[in-house]
Symmetry: C2
Subunit: 469 residues, 2 copies
Amino acid sequence: MADQIKLYYKNVTADIVGQEHGLSLDQFKYYTDQIAQTVNSINQQVADGKLPFRRLPYDQQMVQRTKDVAGEMRGRYDNLVVLGIGGSALGNIALQTALNHPFYNLLPSDRRAGPKTFVMDNVDPVQFQGLLDLLDGQLDRTLFNVVSKSGETAETASQFLIVRNLIRTRRGASKLAENIIVTTDPASGTLRQIAARDGYITLAVPPGVGGRFSVLSQVGLFSAAMCGIDIEGLMAGARDMDQRVSKTELVENPAAIFALIQYLFYGQGKTLSVMMPYSYQLKDLSDWFRQLWAESLGKDKTLDGKPAQIGPTPIKALGTTDQHSQVQLYREGLNNKVFTFLEVEKFASQCPIPRELEQVESIAYLGGKSLEKLINNEKIATEYALVASKRPCLTIVFPEISAYCVGQFIYMLETATSIAGSLFNLNTYDQPAVELGKQATFALMERAGYEELAKKMAASIQRDKKFLV
Amino acid sequence: MADQIKLYYKNVTADIVGQEHGLSLDQFKYYTDQIAQTVNSINQQVADGKLPFRRLPYDQQMVQRTKDVAGEMRGRYDNLVVLGIGGSALGNIALQTALNHPFYNLLPSDRRAGPKTFVMDNVDPVQFQGLLDLLDGQLDRTLFNVVSKSGETAETASQFLIVRNLIRTRRGASKLAENIIVTTDPASGTLRQIAARDGYITLAVPPGVGGRFSVLSQVGLFSAAMCGIDIEGLMAGARDMDQRVSKTELVENPAAIFALIQYLFYGQGKTLSVMMPYSYQLKDLSDWFRQLWAESLGKDKTLDGKPAQIGPTPIKALGTTDQHSQVQLYREGLNNKVFTFLEVEKFASQCPIPRELEQVESIAYLGGKSLEKLINNEKIATEYALVASKRPCLTIVFPEISAYCVGQFIYMLETATSIAGSLFNLNTYDQPAVELGKQATFALMERAGYEELAKKMAASIQRDKKFLV
């Protein structure tokens, strides 16, 4: 129990931030029954096999195979490059930042548990060319993990074509399978077919699991395992949290409390949700959450098809850094935000501050303390200042940053997303609005079948010099 | 002229996104006189020496000294560590990301123009200890640049004490000045005194220039120069932009157009301002902008002291990455955002996509194109999709990513901030709301003189188990 993450929510209540900006205990009571029903219904869906992401932590076979494949490959490569975007990248990045050394890629190889790791979730030509230049001469010692359910995502497909061509021309077609491993749909799709043809080892994007819910599948776990991250610990943490978020009693279910608070504040005009870890290691978990929350809850109609404009805007921030960037606005600007701090009780290093320059009075007080004490006190101080300005604050407390705690955190927020989706009465699992941009890209890139759209776009994308200054 | 950045704003107009969500040309006309007066008045302030950040690009002597010091030091160190936070870090980071190789620190030293560079703008104990471990054994080849106007910022002071102690105990007090260079107030303050006593080489935080406006001073320029970034190009770009943003004619002044558009949308309920570069290299410029905009415009009273809640919330996003994370929300969620894309016409690499796997129809269309073409078309496609959902969009077009263009960008947005501050009728240059959190930190860290606040806080920060789940 000591290593369970906890949600602390007193500083969102009207008692603390006042009636106008806080939630009353009556509101919590009012929703107790609805939450019980919602969680019950979600539990039922899980039991019926309808939310397969909720079963991932119990898939021992999947975990074992991930470990086996990674274990076999780990020593054979100096570099691991993940080619993926969105849900195929954000979880990988978050796990690396949370559970690897903060300067992992710069460590000498004998101080790293696995290869240097790069998650390429963009198609910036300078960045990608820069990576290729960096890897020049090391191609035989580089493993590319192409992650795409279909293989047709324009970004990942482009990267894959570049990399495949490079390996083929430099090393020969027979070597492709030495340098490429794909994570894709287990049965069908473009990438699955190519994998079969080229003979790649394959991992699975599990059927029915959307990209943003896939970090605890082989999508996120393979690169983690390659770096020696304890993926069984992640899964054990997720299973621990599964017990807690399956509870129908509101005050015992941290996912339900989190979802309800966010939902209620949205209804009260606090439509921005800021997640602010006081930990460098946790910073990319808030970027992972940003996709989960935005893509799941940003919808223009309710489940029954009524037009609406739903969805809190998730914002990633970072303590203490953003105290010197955003806190002025957070305290004095529009009171339209709810804050979620991530706090770490015990860091892996304390980083003591020595008693140095003790005669300099203005900074002598710092000596004999530690950066751990400082960062945690800065969090308390910032929350104190925000509460003084009637800004509601939540805290998710990590007893430590371990795979076990990170697994809990991920699973808690995934489940909170389901619950929030129910409260908002929307389809949590689709993303229809992404489609038009994809089609427009196809049209501009001259993919067959999109000629009509290309014509339609031609006029509207012409630049009008009158508005260019 | 060909290498001037440009602002394109047709897609914010009512003609394009409709009356409800767009701006009318009448609104622009209505503000023409006020803008002329505002720019005039700012120009007068600059002439009167009241806005010294506007004169930085003309300070040849400062640039020359920065180059001289950096030139002398560059070859002597393998590592440069900037210790600073907020305005003492964000500009440094933005310049490094924009103008260095995307994997600069991982390059072998003969492919880098300067030392490995780390900007430590946080006090995460694991991250800082991780850096110290990484630098273990290389202390004599490491230069620490301590950047703080006063030297009393708790984060920077703590880092400095740790580093000073380390150098003193490992290398001896006589070596301190070999490994530390400080950027601080030229005349007074804690760090200035310590520098004099320890004999550090010093650079200046120029008087009257706030942290968030200081990137084009030695605060931001020294680390850039150490890495071989063309700081004279930056300054030339800023001077070029100075001509443009001093113009009183609205339609000729990109800073004024930008500020006015943001101001008008804020008044129409679009209180979120998303900056979305389609370029990895430009991503940290949007983080730099985020501080500039939030801290300058997030204010709770007007200039004449009337209570208000002012300030757009700046949000950093990144194309194409965030298409797969935020665009669902951006299109279907609340229409409360104005988007500013950063577009690069010509990247330093095109990164061609070879004609590979041409028999696979679903991805064959990509062959023969380039990542440059793809990323730019994705930008057009995303803007097309947002406009289809009546979301207003601006674009800042970079002909290329050069020091000259980056200098223009920085100077344009700094001036736009002044103009926006005038339109909102607030004090652009203070940050009073940051104070309470600082004091609360002092209290919790037991600094003398803060005992009363510590007592006052004690009760309120006690955790109430009833709200812990």
